[in-house]
């Protein structure tokens, strides 16, 4: 097979978009969806961008669709919440060129703040959902989704999960099919959703859903595999592979379309098998509907509503096998931590010293909630830090927040933080906002944003300056401080938190992992001078370990020479030496 490649689920989605003739792609990075855009950008036929947030990305894709081309937006599950406003209404308008939203759920919450199930959002928005099981499916389903979108005049969601997005499998590659642009015609009955129009469109949406419930029974993406009829599984996505692994002889209805459900197909399958299991990760979306039709089946009674599934789960719960597994060893946990040389650690070491609480946000810096830094007190969603702090002030008064700051990353500030800052200005807040500017979207692996001066497609562009932006909002006290200058940081934070006026402190230093970011020095500890006080250990840098005799050792393969520990040492026992100078 000449045209076979091993692709990550997200690479396969990008390939699918390419082959489907997509012309416009917009996204905001978010694990596990980020690599979709990082791979789409390799196809020069597609215009692709990082939008500042998912709502904007969705609307960019909507605009492209209305103008007559195939367009795609990609985001993680919580991003769909941000994009929900346009999504719910474009469901009424429908499309011109095909419109697909890739939504990446995160069962098990490997990198997320909640475990919400996109299928529930899709049901509420009355948008169909396709769910692939492997990389090949991922590519094929994207192409099918675009056909469906145009045929049924609807946006289509392709739902993935972390396991699919970040698994690799073999994929047959095909040629790109160029799709002719559809003509644009002014049609306010369809594209202007005022009440009079929307009332009529709602009827169209209901009829469309009915049609898909019927037609879905013969969609090639819904597959029936009759084997042993004593046991049948209705399943979809990655869980399908667990069924095949644990019970290869069971009968299976593999649903490629999980919303709306092809009722007749399900009823027929259910009538042919003796015991029916519904095997779906997260919410009982399929199960509750099937049960509501009076079909007897087993689902969440024996399969969990939380986390990822496995083949072993079926072996235990259905086959009642004694797996005779070894007991896991009791070992210390190893949660993620800020990297050695991370500028956030430096900022947090100062906040920690000053015993300041932080209303936190979403990014690597959320890790500042954990010991030993223990600075971040709250984290809700993207952009929430500033508004949360403002709410505290309005509840408890100016004095209450004098030992509080809001911390937010540069990319998250652009995402939705800026709205909250406008609110703070408008409604006379006096909070101190710290923008931890590391010049990149860090946690998801270095994506450009509106402040970096570069587009997803690699073109130089206007870099929006946080400093100027804050000034333009009318904030008088805006300060830029080197994130590693802890002396200056301490002074500025002390002063600004006491000030009864809004202020913004922008701490600057690039992410330590950023390409081209060179640290010329490494830190070396001198055991002779070390007084074993432990000050350098306080920020929890993983390169530092306490020796059995109480002195400090700095691992030269981990240290990036940021010099934070050197600044903290009062006894001159840590030196920065040039990397190649011995």
């Amino acid at each position: 097979m000449e045209n076979q490649a091993i692709l990550l689920g997200n690479e396969a989605i990008a390939r699918g978009a390419y082959e489907a003739g997509v012309k416009v792609s917009a996204a905001y990075p978010g694990t596990p969806s980020t690599e979709i855009s990082e791979n789409i950008v390799k196809y020069k036929e597609i215009y692709s961008e990082w939008s500042p947030n998912e709502k904007v990305a969705m609307e960019v894709a909507i605009g492209a669709s209305i103008s007559g081309v195939r367009a795609m937006a990609s985001m993680k599950h919580v991003g769909v919440n941000v994009a929900a406003d346009p999504l719910y209404t474009i469901s009424y308008s429908g499309v011109n060129g095909g419109l697909v939203l890739v939504a990446a759920d995160d069962p098990g919450m490997y990198s997320s703040q909640n475990e919400q199930d996109t299928r529930c959002v899709a049901r509420a928005a009355q948008v169909p959902v396709l769910e692939p099981s492997d990389s090949q499916d991922a590519k094929d389903f994207i192409k099918f989704a675009f056909e469906m979108s145009e045929k049924y005049d609807t946006p289509v969601i392709v739902r993935t999960t972390t396991r699919l997005a970040h698994s690799q499998g073999l994929v047959e590659l095909c040629e790109r099919k160029e799709i002719e642009d559809k003509p644009y015609e002014r049609n306010i009955q369809k594209y202007v959703m005022m009440p009079a129009m929307a009332q009529k469109r709602h009827l169209v949406v209901e009829a469309r859903t009915k049609a898909m419930i019927e037609d879905g029974c013969t969609f090639p993406i819904n597959k029936v595999e009759y084997n042993d009829l004593s046991v049948g599984f209705i399943t979809s996505g990655i869980p399908y592979t667990y069924v095949k692994e644990a019970m290869p002889n069971a009968s299976v209805l593999k649903l490629g379309m999980v919303n709306p459900l092809p009722r007749k197909l399900i009823e027929e399958f259910a009538s042919k098998v003796d015991t029916l299991y519904i095997f779906e990760e997260l919410d009982p979306v399929i199960e509750e509907q099937v049960k509501s039709w009076g079909i007897k089946c087993i689902g969440k009674e024996i399969f969990t509503i939380q986390g990822e599934y496995s083949a072993n789960m079926i072996r235990k719960a259905v086959l009642k096998e004694d797996l005779d597994l070894a007991t896991p060893a009791t070992v210390p946990a190893r949660p993620p931590i800020l990297c050695p040389g991370c500028p956030h650690r430096s900022v947090y070491s100062v906040l920690s010293k000053l015993k300041i609480h932080a209303a936190g946000d979403i990014g690597c810096y959320t890790l500042g909630a954990l010991a030993p830094l223990s600075v971040v007190d709250t984290t809700v969603c993207m952009g929430s830090s500033i508004s949360t702090l403002h709410g505290m002030e309005k509840a408890k008064g100016k004095d209450y927040i004098k030992n509080w700051v809001a911390v937010i990353g540069d990319s998250t500030f652009m995402h939705t933080g800026v709205n909250s800052l406008m609110n703070m200005v408008y409604n006379k807040g006096t909070g101190t906002v710290m923008i931890l500017d590391n010049s990149i979207t860090g946690m998801t692996g270095h994506q450009d944003h509106a402040g970096t001066g570069k587009t997803l497609m690699g073109e130089p562009t206007n870099a929006i300056s946080n400093y100027n932006l804050c000034k333009t909002l009318g904030i008088e006290h805006v300060y830029e401080v080197d994130a590693f200058n802890i002396k200056e940081l301490e002074e500025v934070i002390k002063r600004e938190t006491q000030r009864e006026e809004i202020s913004v402190i922008i701490t600057k230093a690039p992410c330590v992992l950023l390409k081209g970011n060179v640290f010329p020095n490494k830190c070396v500890a001198d055991p002779e001078k070390c007084k074993k006080c432990g000050m350098c250990l306080k920020p929890g840098c993983p390169a530092l370990t306490k020796q059995p005799d109480g002195t400090i050792r700095i691992d030269d393969t981990m240290c990036n020479g940021c010099g934070l520990c050197r600044q903290l040492c009062k006894f001159d026992a840590i030196k920065e030496v040039p990397v190649n100078g011995n």
């Binding site: 396991r163 797996l323 007991t327 060893a329 990297c339």
Partner: protein
């Protein structure tokens, strides 16, 4: 052939993704069906990370489950202990004898277990190497994972030539020679 189950475990940032890319290419070159599963995102920041590689005639699920691993490749010894129960009864351990303290140990909330290698050896056939020391001797500490892979290669279904070819085409061009040397060290380590 029965599906072979490989696990690569380590600490985020140790290069498990490079290793899985190499194993993926080897499987595809040998015309196996293959699936891999990786960890991206926040867990990569110094957390415990695990990569699954499964190859054979027909591979359904992309993960290796408890009690099913044929080979456990560990880039750090505490991580080998953490995933020990994933091994089959006759599964083999390849472990880089390196200690990286998790933050829970650094803060004093937990202790780094003593005698990990003995525990591993008592449970399974275990091959240990101080790959970091070997890589430093070569002059590039980043090649330590290829040293470990060289050792693991003795327990998989590919020829040495297959390995060298894939490594040469996967690692950054400037580091091909040193990585091939690193592989030899692991391969020849008893």
């Amino acid at each position: 052939m029965e599906t072979k189950n490989i696990m690569i475990v380590g600490v985020g940032g140790q290069g498990t993704l490079l290793t899985s890319r190499i194993l993926g290419k080897l499987a595809i070159n040998a015309k196996y069906d293959v699936k891999l599963s990786e960890v991206h995102g926040m867990a990569q920041r110094g957390g415990s990370v695990v990569t699954f590689v499964r190859y054979g005639k027909n591979v359904a699920e992309p993960i290796v489950e408890a009690g099913q691993a044929d080979v456990l490749i560990a880039f750090e010894r505490l991580e080998a202990l953490r995933y020990l129960h994933f091994l089959k009864k006759d599964g083999v351990i390849i472990v880089n004898d390196q200690r990286i303290d998790p933050i829970t140990v650094v803060t004093g909330a937990a202790e780094y277990p003593e005698g990990i290698l003995d525990t591993l050896k008592a449970a399974h056939t275990t091959y240990a190497i101080d790959a970091m020391a070997e890589a430093k001797k070569l002059g590039n500490s980043k090649t330590f994972n290829i040293v470990v892979l060289g050792m693991a290669a003795q327990h998989m279904d590919y020829s040495k030539e297959d390995w060298l070819e894939v490594i040469a085409s996967t690692v950054p061009p400037k580091t091909v020679d040193i990585n091939l040397k690193a592989f030899e060290i692991g391969w020849n380590h008893a």
